[in-house]
């Protein structure tokens, strides 16, 4: 299954926290209803992507489903045109691993 980021955002800038939440909601909805089919998150036509966006989309998926599931089933694709995408993606992953440092993740765990 492929999910197009540009179609969800109607914008070539995946920059905001709210942008990330929109994409997170769409991926989560599809992933939960597809009985663990692989999901390709397609960044075609996205020009810019921030760590903030990735924290709010993939970071929240990591919090919900864990590292194993996300690594196995949810993949970003077609991001070559985005400067430093993989660097930012790694930052997002590190943010999750070091989640004890982040109030947002701590509060979610306690909720």
């Amino acid at each position: 299954m492929k999910i197009s980021v540009v179609d969800i955002l109607n914008s070539s800038n995946a920059s905001l926290h709210d942008d990330g939440i929109k994409v997170y909601n769409e991926i989560k909805k599809n992933f939960e209803s597809s009985q663990k089919e692989e999901v390709e998150v397609d960044f075609s036509d996205i020009k810019r992507c921030s760590t903030l966006f990735l924290n709010a989309s993939f970071g929240k998926l990591l919090a919900d489903f864990g590292e194993e599931e996300v690594k196995k089933y949810i993949h970003p694709v077609s991001y070559a045109q985005i400067l430093n995408f993989m660097h930012k993606y790694s930052d997002m992953w590190d943010n999750f691993i070091n989640k004890e440092n982040y109030q947002a993740y701590r509060e979610e765990a306690l909720a």
């Binding site: 800038n13 920059s15 990330g20 970071g59 430093n84 109030q103 947002a104 993740y105 509060e107």
Partner: protein
């Protein structure tokens, strides 16, 4: 028509300059349905980038007090020609003659104009002839951090009113100031709701935000201001934030008891927020940043 002094001295991008503009704003608020002449008699100079703040307060006064404004064009030409040069006062004639390379144009954006704002950052601010030639990675980082600042206006400012931006290159000082000003609820309200025990003043809320904290409940965020502070500090520039009755400047953080933690009281309150970035061109063109 009532005549109100814009300031008492040169209006610079510092605590004194913001205090003067806030005093002008407070004086104007005593009137309704009137034409206000912006009196420049006592003013020798206005920093061009402060047009972002001036534009915001005139917008609010027009909306809330139904005030309209006039200004003596001859006085502007003699004392504050910058208001013509940066398009704050638009001119129909001889536009090319007035526009100056040192000005980063005054503009307003609605909170939902994300793409337009990013386009402005990418194609007007960061490639402006006054700016050093940033590496693509630095440009990317600055756009991300400024977009996060913008995102906070969109998400937390609780307003549909526009925000205003303007920049100015000060050639002799080799500095570029860029100011963003919104008409939202300011830092204090949201941060106080999120941290009721830690925050009791607008100054506290600024310090909390520049430490990289965030009110976002569901994923890490809040690094935009922290990153900008770090970048500007390391490159001998500076960051200033004004909200509520507090002003903060990275350069006065270590000024001891005069400005505890860099914070000062503005004597009047501004409901909204102003962020000023000072780029040190001399350091930046050294290539390390």
């Amino acid at each position: 028509m009532v005549s109100i002094h814009l300031g008492e001295d040169s209006i610079l991008t510092d605590f004194s300059g913001f205090r003067q503009l806030l005093k002008f704003y407070e004086t104007c608020r005593n009137y309704n349905n009137a034409v206000v002449e912006i009196n420049l008699d006592n003013v020798g100079w206005v920093d061009g980038n402060l047009c972002a703040f001036l534009g915001a307060i005139l917008y609010r006064l027009n909306k809330e007090n139904q005030l309209s404004f006039s200004i003596n064009a001859e006085q502007v030409s003699k004392k504050c020609g910058i208001l013509f040069h940066n398009n704050f006062i638009p001119l129909d004639q001889n536009l090319r003659q007035y526009q100056k390379k040192s000005c980063i144009p005054y503009k307003g954006f609605l909170p939902k104009q994300k793409d337009e704002f990013i386009d402005y950052l990418e194609n007007e601010l960061l490639v402006h002839s006054a700016m050093p030639r940033f590496t693509e990675a630095t440009k990317e980082k600055l756009i991300d951090d400024l977009t996060e600042v913008y995102a906070n206006i969109d998400k937390h400012a609780e307003t549909d009113d526009p925000f205003f931006v303007c920049g100015q290159h000060y050639v002799r000082q080799e500095k570029i100031h860029f100011t963003i000003c919104d008409l939202g609820v300011g830092f204090y309200k949201k941060i106080k709701e999120s941290q009721p025990d830690k925050i009791s003043t607008s100054g506290d809320s600024i310090l909390w935000a520049i430490e990289g904290n965030s009110t976002k409940p569901d994923a890490p965020g809040g690094s935009g201001l922290k990153n900008l502070h770090k970048y500007l500090d390391e490159s001998n520039g500076g960051l200033q934030i004004y909200t509520g009755d507090a002003g903060w400047c990275s350069k006065t953080m270590n000024a001891g008891s005069i400005y505890p933690n860099g914070v000062t009281n503005l004597r009047n309150a501004y409901i909204g927020s102003i962020i000023n970035l000072e780029f040190n061109k001399k350091t930046l063109i050294s290539g390390k940043f």
